[in-house]
């Protein structure tokens, strides 16, 4: 008997709980050369903004101990070209599709979501609220409960698809942010986005990123991400998607045990582009070995001391 990997988030059923993480899989075209995207629980696109963005100048990634720093700067084709140039490809893929949306003003989030509303194949929208809010002088939306609630509420006014709010880890009290997101009307929470970090070249005395600082991701941050999921689980009623340093099925299981109902795989894709497929296979084996029928049976089952 093969274990059941199906999970349901906000009424949407996913064939398995393993998704790509935003910004780590482009729009899926390159990964499709490595494995059929139908093997994914869902594809999450890189962040889409209203206008196209070139991103920061290179270097915009750097290798660190068991991880990486990036300051890509939300490089993307913009929502119009996403719809005209990319969606035809995505429409042909037999996988759930989650479009990640970013912006620097609430109105930008709202406009992008409004344009995505009528595209049938898009199953959910994930809001990247870890962007600096231009209106509020650069403070990130996701670092403040009030801004979090407000931006989500505004988006929910126009969006007819289920909404995932993606939380930043760079906050004192992530539970307060999670509750604000719930209050604003989010249907699902995904956590975490990257952790603020930097690195310096000691020969040139230059930061390793032209943006001077960036986001730390990869195995190094897994303990941090896991603690955030653990902190939020049961502190609000929304289902959680765990993200951060997931490299193999073992990492994924840790997130399920801490309360994640699905996981996203980011940086690991850069090393093993077929990592999600490996994780799905590993999960099946694990559940079989443990004689557990469904992945749902392990969610939140960590046995705290």
């Amino acid at each position: 008997m093969t274990p059941d990997l199906k999970v349901t988030l906000a009424g949407v059923e996913f064939k398995n709980p393993v998704m790509t993480a935003s910004g780590c899989c482009g729009y899926g075209e390159e990964l499709a050369k490595v494995f059929p995207l139908a093997k994914l629980g869902a594809l999450v696109t890189k962040s889409i903004t209203l206008a196209p963005r070139p991103g920061h100048p290179p270097p915009r990634t750097a290798e660190t101990a068991s991880g990486m720093l990036n300051a890509i700067g939300l490089a993307n084709v913009g929502v119009d070209r996403f719809i005209s140039d990319i969606m035809p490809f995505l429409n042909r893929q037999k996988t759930r599709l989650i479009v990640n949306v970013a912006g620097s003003r609430i109105q930008e989030y709202v406009e992008v979501c409004a344009r995505l509303n009528d595209i049938e194949h898009i199953d959910m929208v994930e809001l990247n609220i870890s962007c600096p809010n231009v209106d509020e002088g650069g403070m990130e939306f996701g670092n403040d409960p009030v801004m979090t609630e407000k931006s989500i509420a505004e988006v929910k006014k126009v969006l007819r698809k289920p909404l995932i709010a993606k939380l930043s880890p760079n906050v004192t009290d992530i539970v307060a942010i999670a509750r604000a997101a719930e209050q604003g009307g989010a249907d699902v929470l995904s956590l975490i986005n990257s952790v603020l970090g930097t690195a310096i070249d000691i020969e040139t005395w230059r930061p390793r990123l032209t943006n001077n600082r960036g986001g730390l991701t990869g195995p190094a941050i897994k303990p941090i991400a896991l603690a955030k999921v653990d902190a939020v689980y049961n502190k609000c009623s929304l289902p959680l998607i765990g993200i951060g340093g997931i490299n193999d099925y073992r990492d994924a299981v840790e997130f399920f045990l801490c309360g994640a109902r699905a996981v996203q795989v980011g940086t690991a894709l850069f090393v093993y582009p077929d990592a999600p497929v490996r994780i799905v296979e590993g999960l099946k084996e694990y559940l079989k070995r443990k004689k557990i029928k469904s992945v749902n049976d392990i969610i939140g089952k960590v046995r705290k001391y």
């Binding site: 780590c24 899989c25 482009g26 075209e29 390159e30 990964l31 499709a32 050369k33 490595v34 494995f35 059929p36 070139p54 991103g55 100048p57 290179p58 270097p59 915009r60 990634t61 750097a62 290798e63 660190t64 068991s66 991880g67 990486m68 990036n70 890509i72 490089a75 990869g218 195995p219 894709l269 850069f270 090393v271 093993y272 582009p273 077929d274």
Partner: protein, 264 residues
């Protein structure tokens, strides 16, 4: 649609060349038939020791034995670790990646400009041209280095029958001077030939080659390098600015670009 594999191979042959250079042959590799000059492979050197893969140009393939060769120089942590691998050690290869050199037309003469760690793909390229019937006499293989010790695999290159032009800073082998200076002299002394340039090597060499192409209106291609987290086009970490505006990913849109295309 699916054409990139991610597979474990074994180090079969290890040759130590001069100057901290090594030739490694891996196999069996299922994709030897899909490896063309310009393509590279992305090597996972250790499950946890070094996070990112390291990019290496295909330096040769043995289709019958299903073996693939790379030639690399020890530059930092990754290549240092790789250099300590021993035959029977495993390595995970993601590939083949990137685009390829466009062969010259029959009417054209191929002017190859190699330097430093840029010579392996060009040696592979020259070899494949010859194997495919291109007249080796119409290949000018310029290869620059600081001293004679920097010019590797000489007999192997000469055996192809190409016109081999080693150039060293100190004159210890071949011409003395900068390789691109010699190439310019060659261009100037062959005004009636249709030349096509192919460059791979240090940044300064690429820039000079690019300038030569533009100055003398010669077509050609440059193979670029950039730190590559993913190698498959999904991280956007390896971008370079294009002269026409916008950016290109060295891994997925390159590594081979037309002369004049990239803002070097």
């Amino acid at each position: 649609m699916i054409n990139i594999s991610c597979e474990d191979t074994v180090l079969i042959k290890k040759r130590s060349l001069k100057n901290a250079y090594f030739s490694f042959t891996f196999g069996p590799y299922s994709r030897v038939d899909q490896c063309y000059p310009g393509n590279f492979i992305h090597l996972k050197l250790s499950e946890t020791q070094i996070y990112f893969r390291r990019a290496m140009s295909v330096a040769g393939v043995n289709k019958k034995k299903k073996e693939i060769e790379i030639i690399f120089k020890v530059m930092g942590r990754g290549t240092e670790l790789l250099s300590r691998f021993k035959p029977t050690d495993h390595v995970n290869i993601l590939g083949p990646l990137g685009n390829t050199f466009t062969p010259p037309r029959k009417s054209e003469r191929a002017v190859i400009i190699a330097g430093g760690i840029g010579f392996p793909p060009l040696m592979f390229f020259a070899g494949e041209l010859v194997r495919n019937g291109y007249d080796p006499e119409r290949i000018e293989f310029f290869y620059g280095g600081r001293t004679a010790a920097d010019i590797l695999e000489r007999s192997r290159i000469k055996k192809l029958g190409v016109n081999f032009h080693p150039v060293t800073d100190d004159g210890s082998l071949g011409h003395r001077g900068l390789v691109t200076r010699m190439v310019e002299e060659y261009i100037k002394s062959h005004p009636d030939e249709k030349l096509r340039l192919y460059g791979c090597g240090p940044e300064a060499m690429l820039k000079a080659t690019d300038s030569l192409g533009l100055k003398y209106s010669l077509p050609g291609q440059l193979s670029l390098e950039a730190p590559m987290p993913c190698g498959v086009g999904i991280c956007l970490g390896c971008v370079v600015p294009l002269k026409a505006g916008g950016q290109a990913r060295v891994c997925a849109d390159g590594p081979v670009f037309e002369i004049g295309e990239v803002a070097l």
